[in-house]
């Protein structure tokens, strides 16, 4: 079974993110780039599918500037068989629909039985690409999955999505798109052997032109990025615990009217 995993390279969660000189982009100096954590769950799940079935291929796909290859190489080091890089710096600031069109075109070329990706990338936080890819391909899709099992015959998958207050288990025909929620699995570290082996694996490079997709002209335009206004300074309520608590409850009710 061929499984495609869509991954995005994003700034590390612990990185300080600042607005760049162009207010429509962040300042990229000093940023540590990582594979978006939810996408790592997707990679891990794809590897487990291959291991469980004893056969198959895991292909990691991403788009963006040259440095995106680092993210793809981490996927290869984790165990993906090969990677596809849609090399175009414009993809970095693209809206989700543009990204989804590019990725859908790659998927059409690759014709996998299953597409996995994270529930959202932790930079733009839109969480739309997986579902949009499914829509563009006319495939079913299940978002925020917490578990997954492919039927032995490889024709369907049973997956559980997290909804408010419940887990809903569905049978879906393949091919389909699943987006991974935390809790699906615990991603492995790439082993040293995996890292050393990654450089021998193929990263196929494509241009948007090869895919017939126009990456200019987003449907959603970024006007500007802004730093969040800082919260007004708070106050520490002093005193013995008993008095402090009494005062806290009073201000919550009388000043803040929060309860």
């Amino acid at each position: 079974m061929k499984v495609l995993v869509l991954v995005k390279q994003v700034p590390d969660t612990a990185t300080q993110v600042k607005v760049g000189s162009d207010p429509r982009a962040i300042a990229t100096t000093g940023i540590t780039w990582i594979v978006s954590p939810y996408d790592e769950f997707a990679v891990e799940e794809a590897l487990r599918i291959r291991e469980k079935r004893g056969t198959g291929e895991v292909v990691a796909v991403s788009g963006g500037p040259e440095r995106v290859k680092e993210a793809l190489r981490s996927c290869l080091a984790m165990g993906a068989d090969r990677a596809v890089h849609v090399l175009d710096p414009a993809l970095e600031g693209a809206d989700t629909l543009t990204t989804a069109r590019v990725l859908a075109a790659v998927i059409q070329q690759e014709a996998p039985q299953l597409v996995l990706t994270g529930r959202q990338a932790i930079d733009d936080d839109t969480g739309a690409v997986g579902a949009q890819v499914a829509e563009l391909l006319g495939w079913p899709c299940l978002s925020w999955i917490m578990e997954e099992a492919i039927a032995e015959d490889g024709a369907t998958v049973r997956a559980g999505r997290q909804v408010e207050g419940a887990l809903e288990l569905f049978d879906l025909p393949l091919p389909c798109v699943l987006t991974a929620q935390k809790g699906l699995n615990e991603p492995r570290y790439p082993t040293l052997k995996g890292i050393m082996g990654a450089k021998k694996k193929e990263i196929k490079e494509l241009g948007p032109g090869d895919l017939g997709v126009n990456v200019d002209g987003p449907q959603l335009e970024l006007v500007r990025l802004e730093a969040l206004p800082p919260r007004p300074p708070g106050r520490i309520i002093p005193g013995e615990p008993k008095e402090a608590v009494r005062e806290l409850v009073r201000v919550l009710r009388e000043e803040a009217k929060a309860i």
């Binding site: 969660t13 629909l97 932790i122 978002s143 500007r224 708070g234 615990p241 929060a258």
Partner: protein, 330 residues
């Protein structure tokens, strides 16, 4: 009315709209008012109660598009999206808004792809700039705010719950219900099982007005009972930091933060939580933040409106007692 603001109804699966729908309609009324447009509700469900329809009208939906059918529950993207797309293409709304809930999040993304328009997800504010609607949405885990606008129409957006002022319950009025003739396609996915989460008897995390949350400072899973007792008294949901979830003390669905849930309750009380960037991302839009931590240097105090430096094992039970006294006269 052409060019109306459509609000997709989020319901309780028992035929009534949820409060977040009132928030959608409330904000849509304010924005539509500025543009001289109407506000309409769009309800896809297996079951709509009369009372629910009345509620939507009361909140200010000028018209309710109702598509009822057994295939619509539970939500499946491949069933809902063609229905919505067909209606939207026929009626040409100016905007279609949904809530940031499990199904709307996916629905709106798919719909945007189907219609070939932009989606502003997880919005926390809207403003008119040069006659164009601009949406504000947190990005980079809430470290920055992104302002975006649409190139075409309809303007698709999802709105974060608990952020927008809900529509007031207006005078009761007869709902104007349209039952458009649209074909509901059969779905490809079939529901096998719905596993309800263990009922805590407490509100859902993302919907709660008050959230009490615990971190590493709780020292073990057994101590969450201290927070639950407080939560019961003040009607709060109980959440947890990533540290507590990663330690296996709470299931992941209770995690607040960048790789968990994003919440904006009226009141957030963090106990024994240091306030790592990734946690702050999930709760910094709360209206009032209270922190209890024994470390006066804990970063959570930088975002807290009120803080108590002290041992949570002492402070939290005192809070429970004090709230019991003032709220319930005990």
């Amino acid at each position: 009315m052409a060019g109306a603001f459509w609000c997709v109804v989020e319901d309780d699966r028992r035929g009534r709209p949820k409060r977040v729908t009132a928030e959608l309609i409330g904000e849509a009324r304010r924005r539509a008012g500025e543009l001289g447009a109407g506000v309409e509700a769009l309800w896809l469900t297996d079951r709509a109660e009369e009372e629910g329809l009345g509620q939507l009208a009361g909140w200010g939906a000028d018209r309710i598009w109702l598509v009822e059918g057994p295939a619509l529950a539970p939500y499946r993207g491949e069933v809902w999206v063609p229905v919505l797309a067909e209606l939207a293409q026929k009626e040409a709304p100016r905007a279609i808004w949904g809530a940031v809930t499990s199904r709307h999040r996916e629905l709106m993304a798919r719909l945007a792809a189907r219609l070939g328009v932009g989606l502003a997800a997880d919005c926390v504010g809207f403003a008119l700039e040069d006659g164009q609607l601009v949406a504000a949405r947190p990005v980079y885990a809430g470290k920055l705010l992104s302002r975006v606008r649409w190139r075409g129409q309809p303007w698709l957006a999802t709105l974060r719950p608990n952020v927008f002022k809900p529509a007031d319950e207006g005078p009761a009025r007869e709902p104007r219900v349209e039952r458009p003739a649209v074909s509901v396609p059969p779905g490809a996915a079939t529901l096998v099982e719905r596993r309800e989460e263990t009922q805590t008897g407490l509100p859902e995390l993302t919907e709660a007005d008050i959230v009490v949350s615990g971190g590493r400072g709780l020292k073990g899973p057994e101590n969450f009972v201290i927070l639950e007792e407080l939560a019961k008294v003040i009607g709060a949901a109980v959440g947890a930091s990533r540290a507590a979830v990663d330690a296996g003390w709470r299931p992941h669905r209770f995690q607040i933060g960048q790789t968990g849930r994003t919440i904006s309750p009226k009141l957030y009380i963090g106990c024994g939580i240091s306030g790592a960037i990734q946690h702050l991302a999930g709760m910094r839009t709360s209206k009032v933040i209270v922190a209890v931590n024994k470390d006066p240097e804990a970063p959570i105090f930088k975002v807290a409106d009120y803080g108590i430096v002290g041992d949570l094992f002492e402070v939290v039970p005192l809070m429970t007692e004090e709230f019991k006294r003032v709220l319930h006269g005990e």
